[in-house]
């Protein structure tokens, strides 16, 4: 999970492959990453949270009821 740059000393078959480049050096890429993350978090919110603890569609329960089983099974609080 952390700095597991394993086997830096022992050569592997791909040891002479190019070093993995650092991504995200420019603003356009950063924007793309942020946009992706925001969209993904919105999906996460609608599957896991909306019309439970908070709701963007008021009292409507259609999203909640539709993904109900997934919500329980993915570990979100429900009911």
């Amino acid at each position: 999970m952390s700095s597991l740059s394993a086997s830096a000393a022992t050569p592997t078959p791909e040891a002479d492959a190019p070093a993995v480049p650092v991504a995200v050096p420019n603003a356009r890429a950063a924007l793309l990453l942020i946009g992706t993350a925001v969209l993904a978090l919105a999906v996460y919110y609608f599957i896991g949270v909306d019309q439970g603890a908070t709701s963007v569609f008021g009292n409507d329960m259609h999203v909640h009821e539709f993904v109900h089983d997934a919500r329980h099974f993915l570990g979100f609080p429900c009911h």
Binding site: V20, A29, I47, A70, F73, L74
Partner: protein, 294 residues
């Protein structure tokens, strides 16, 4: 390159979501149905008690979707979209780790980031607030439970990122192995403090007032005025099976994301020098060219 990586993350996530859905449909649904049957029986028993005590019956919530729709379409849509969302976040994390986490192979990094996703999004929150099937969970506390769970997920992810950063910072001084252990230890301590500070669900004030002081919201036996049990507590085997399968589904999900993404990333970022020309990219040649061109 960024777009391609994100696209592959989405693809891996969709495949993972489909597999997790198949797993859930086979293993989770029987447990969910048992939980719902328990809930219906308990509601009926409660109704009978209320009637005897002269309390008017509750208005039942209308069913917006049938159980079949919930179990087949709803569960499928939920799992696949969740898989894609996790695949997208996985790809973002992967791109942020690229080149910042030592000399890892592209595919090794894929497995590590997937492991981090499993840990941050599910395993660590599971320890404090494990998943519950229907019938467990008091409606009075849904807001608090929702917030507490999200706080747990947020802390677990932010601390994990901080631990990786810390490990990288400590690497020059302590070496790879020890820096990794120190980062892990810092994570365990920090998240342990958060877990100790956050309340158990049963200790929320609404629960203590209405149901007495218990550790969780898992339904206890229902008793009448004389203290005779008229309906049993929630079946322990169903709860265990539900949580075990929930955990297994997350292993399937994140394992699939890591394993499906790994070879694609390897081809994209570190194509074998003498290998057959697969999807050759400009990033393949030269020492670390700017990968963000597409």
């Amino acid at each position: 390159m960024v777009k391609r990586i994100i696209g592959r993350g989405l693809l891996a996530g969709a495949v993972a979501g489909l597999l997790a859905f198949a797993f859930a449909r086979i293993f989770a649904e029987p447990q969910i149905n048992k939980a719902i049957a328990y809930e219906s029986g308990r509601d009926a028993a409660q109704e009978a008690l209320n009637k005897a005590a002269g309390i008017p019956p509750d208005m039942a919530d209308p069913d917006l979707f049938s159980r079949t729709v919930q179990a087949d379409v709803g569960l499928g849509v939920g799992m696949v979209f969740f898989g894609m969302a996790m695949g997208a976040l996985f790809a973002v994390a992967y791109l942020l780790c690229l080149g910042r986490t030592g000399r890892l192979q592209a595919r090794t990094l894929s497995l590590l980031v997937a492991g981090g996703g499993l840990l941050g999004f599910y395993l660590v929150p599971f320890v404090k607030y494990p998943p519950n099937p229907p019938a467990i969970g008091h409606p009075e506390t849904i807001q608090q439970r929702g917030s507490l769970y999200l706080v747990m997920v947020l802390c677990s992810i932010v601390f994990l990122a901080a631990a990786v950063w810390l490990g990288q910072r400590l690497k020059p001084r302590f070496g790879n192995w020890n820096a990794t252990l120190l980062g892990a230890a810092a994570y365990v301590v920090a998240i342990g403090v958060v877990m100790a500070l956050l309340p158990s669900l049963g200790h929320l004030s609404d629960n203590v007032q209405l149901y007495g002081r218990h550790a969780t919201e898992t339904p206890l036996p229902l008793t009448d005025k004389q203290g005779n049990i008229v309906y049993p507590g929630f079946p322990a085997d169903v709860l265990f099976a539900f949580r075990l399968y929930s955990l297994a589904a997350q292993l399937v999900l994140w394992g699939t994301i890591g394993l499906v993404f790994a070879p694609m990333a390897q081809r994209l970022l570190q194509p074998a020098p003498a290998g057959p020309p697969t999807s050759a990219t400009p990033a393949a040649s030269g020492p670390a060219p700017d990968p963000v061109t597409t």
